[in-house]
């Protein structure tokens, strides 16, 4: 188990290293020169430009720059954002709590609602509720998140005026009134973006869960349970559900990175001051330090997601308690 874990960790680090290298190469392949592009205010003074190039070692060979970059990264230094005039780390620390709050709420909706629907559908298999919900989840699952966000914004933000149309908190009242008001205010602001992000995921989870329940339903022990005369509810909720939950763990591992990449669009629409919006702004401003850092975080999430899922599966299911390479290979759907 320890050997397996060490090997997996080494592989994870290697993958993240490769992603970072790839992003570095991509940035250096791109045409453009700090002296030509400037910061958008025309061509900078050649002397200033030369000193800037020397200061950031841009005149060094690419390999030297790469090495310096890796050394800095190993020290936990993610670089300096020229557009924001502050270290990348500070910008991330400021935005990360917002993304985590949003992602947490979305995750709750995703799996809470998704599991409930999937289980209910499997219980009422091929009856009216199952058929209706099957079509509804198919439709919701196919919605582009950013479009759903816009429509929810239009309906609940503008037409019904139930929820705010953007931002993360009330900029005027919140600092004045007590913290309880702030908490309520934050939740109120979070409803629309979290629902947007969570609903599409929940539809996917529901479909996934239903399929997993049906897969289990064909196995012998379920037939045995029925043959013993157990009530249907107990067969579904006890025998089927417990085994179907195993594949939910896999899905959980796959959803983890999506919460950042999916948040990119949703945060942009709802003006949510999180990491996704920071990244989009950085890309549009060509602020490479932040983009590289975001890519690093996103790929770490992918790797961490599959690692966590594998570990949880090992805990939850004694049958696959990791022996050598027989680890469940997580296939991305």
């Amino acid at each position: 188990m320890t050997a397996w874990l060490l090997r997996r960790l080494a592989a994870s680090v290697a993958i993240i290293f490769a992603v970072v290298t790839f992003v570095f190469i991509l940035i250096h392949l791109a045409p453009g020169d700090p002296c030509i592009v400037g910061t958008g205010e025309g061509v900078p003074d050649p002397a200033v430009c030369r000193s800037l190039i020397r200061q950031f070692a841009l005149d060094q060979p690419v390999l030297v720059q790469y090495w310096r970059y890796l050394v800095e990264l190993a020290h936990g230094n993610l670089g300096y954002s020229f557009a924001l005039h502050r270290p990348v780390w500070d910008a991330l620390v400021d935005t990360m709590p917002f993304t985590l709050q949003l992602a947490g709420a979305a995750l709750l909706i995703d799996f809470g609602l998704g599991l409930a629907l999937g289980i209910y559908q499997a219980w009422r298999l091929n009856r009216l509720p199952d058929v209706v919900l099957g079509n509804v989840t198919l439709f919701v699952y196919s919605l582009p998140t950013f479009w759903l966000g816009l429509i929810l914004l239009l309906l609940f933000g503008e037409k019904l005026r139930l929820f705010p149309v953007g931002g993360a908190s009330d900029p005027v009242l919140c600092p004045l009134v007590d913290s309880f008001y702030c908490l309520a205010d934050r939740i109120w602001h979070m409803v629309l973006p979290a629902v947007t992000l969570g609903l599409v995921g929940a539809a996917g989870t529901a479909r996934f869960q239903r399929a997993a329940m049906l897969e289990v339903a064909q196995q012998d022990f379920v037939r045995t349970a029925r043959a013993k005369g157990l009530p249907e509810r107990r067969v579904v909720l006890h025998h089927q559900l417990r085994n179907a939950l195993l594949s939910v763990i896999t899905r959980f591992g796959l959803t983890l990175p999506f919460l950042l990449t999916g948040a990119v669009l949703v945060e942009t629409i709802f003006a949510w001051p999180g990491m996704g919006r920071l990244t989009v702004d950085a890309i549009l401003r060509r602020d490479y330090a932040i983009v590289t850092a975001a890519a690093l975080i996103a790929s770490s999430l992918v790797v961490a997601g599959s690692l966590i899922a594998d570990l949880l599966l090992g805990f939850a299911d004694p049958r696959i308690r990791v022996h050598e390479d027989a680890v469940v290979d997580i296939v991305t759907a």
């Binding site: 592989a11 290697a14 993958i15 993240i16 490769a18 992603v19 790839f22 992003v23 991509l26 940035i27 392949l29 791109a30 045409p31 453009g32 079509n135 198919l138 439709f139 699952y141 196919s142 919605l143 582009p144 950013f146 479009w147 816009l150 429509i151 914004l153 239009l154 503008e158 990175p257 950042l260 990449t261 990119v264 669009l265 942009t268 629409i269 990244t279 989009v280 890309i283 549009l284 060509r286 983009v291 975001a294 890519a295 996103a298 790929s299 992918v302 790797v303 290979d329 296939v331 991305t332 759907a333």
Partner: protein, 308 residues
């Protein structure tokens, strides 16, 4: 809407209904395709896809106006849907229905081409990795691991932002080249099982060259999962294109794509929601249809359900 475009629209609807009816009729003869049409959503999906493909191909006939020309930006902007403007007009007074029809060309085109690139590349890599195993497999699959860990939307965003605007061809290529990883894993798993089967062993024993064994014997038998994943890829590529265009770095305006149209309408969503509404609905319908068709295909192509 001119008389000609109304006529073309009606013909398109009737034609797509007829195509589905014809397919259904043909399907009666084959057990597999009967299984496909047992899904009511799969039949609807076929119909919707056929209709939108006809609209895309016949865009000049179906669309009454030029999708780029702004007829009268002062008096004709943000008109609600009516009989003259089937889906209303946008903030630049362009006819949304005309843009919708021409946008179908761009969006469905990128979806189909991008998915074609992704699925062919994924199948080749997966087949080679699964067939040769050993170090070839190890290297290719570690590469796929890295590819799966790449935050795809960031990479495409960066590629697009770094090279300013990508042309249509480059955009399709970049999207295609970053979407094949999952397919290759799927195909590899399939090939790993197939390569031990007797007919493959026999072909190898007869001295058939490896390339012919892979493309002539192994891959055709892995067709079912490949086809299903192709249907799903088209939807994924379409969604990715729409997200990029929505962020303003996909298909270059004023050329219409559905993602572009959503972005155009997002600014005026409170006053003229129709600009955004129809384009988004079209994307959802296409993706939904593709998912439904993929579900149907999965059932139809499942050999375990074939009568003995």
């Amino acid at each position: 809407m001119t008389f000609g475009s109304w006529l073309a629209l009606v013909v398109a609807i009737v034609l797509s209904a007829e195509v589905v009816r014809w397919l259904r009729h043909r399907a009666l003869r084959h057990e597999r395709w009967r299984r496909f049409f047992r899904h009511p959503t799969a039949a609807w999906g076929c119909g919707i896809l056929t209709f939108l493909i006809i609209v895309a191909i016949a865009a000049p006939l179906v669309a009454p106006l030029d999708p780029i020309v702004q007829p009268d930006p002062v008096r004709l902007k943000n008109h609600a849907p009516s009989l003259t403007f089937l889906m209303g007009t946008d903030v630049f007074s362009r006819d949304v229905w005309s843009r919708f029809a021409y946008g179908a060309r761009v969006s469905l085109g990128i979806g189909a081409l991008g998915a074609l690139i992704a699925v062919s590349l994924g199948s080749c890599v997966g087949a080679v990795a699964g067939y040769y195993r050993r170090w070839v497999d190890a290297i290719l699959m570690r590469g796929v691991d890295i590819g799966l860990a790449l935050p795809r939307i960031f990479i495409v965003l960066m590629a697009v932002a770094l090279w300013d605007r990508l042309s249509f061809a480059w955009l399709t290529l970049v999207i295609g080249l970053t979407s094949w990883f999952a397919t290759s894993r799927l195909v590899r798993a399939e090939v790993l099982a197939l390569r031990e089967r007797d007919f493959v062993v026999a072909a190898r024993a007869l001295g058939v060259p490896s390339s012919r064994v892979i493309f002539g014997h192994v891959l055709p038998n892995a067709a079912a999962p490949i086809i299903v994943s192709a249907a799903l890829s088209v939807g994924n590529v379409l969604l990715l294109e729409a997200s990029l265009s929505f962020l303003g770095i996909g298909v270059a305006p004023p050329r219409p794509s559905w993602g572009n149209m959503i972005a155009d309408g997002a600014v005026t969503i409170y006053t003229a929601p129709w600009t955004t509404l129809f384009a988004g609905l079209a994307i959802s319908l296409v993706v939904m249809s593709l998912n439904a068709v993929a579900d149907g295909l999965r059932d139809a192509l499942d050999p375990r359900q074939d009568p003995a």
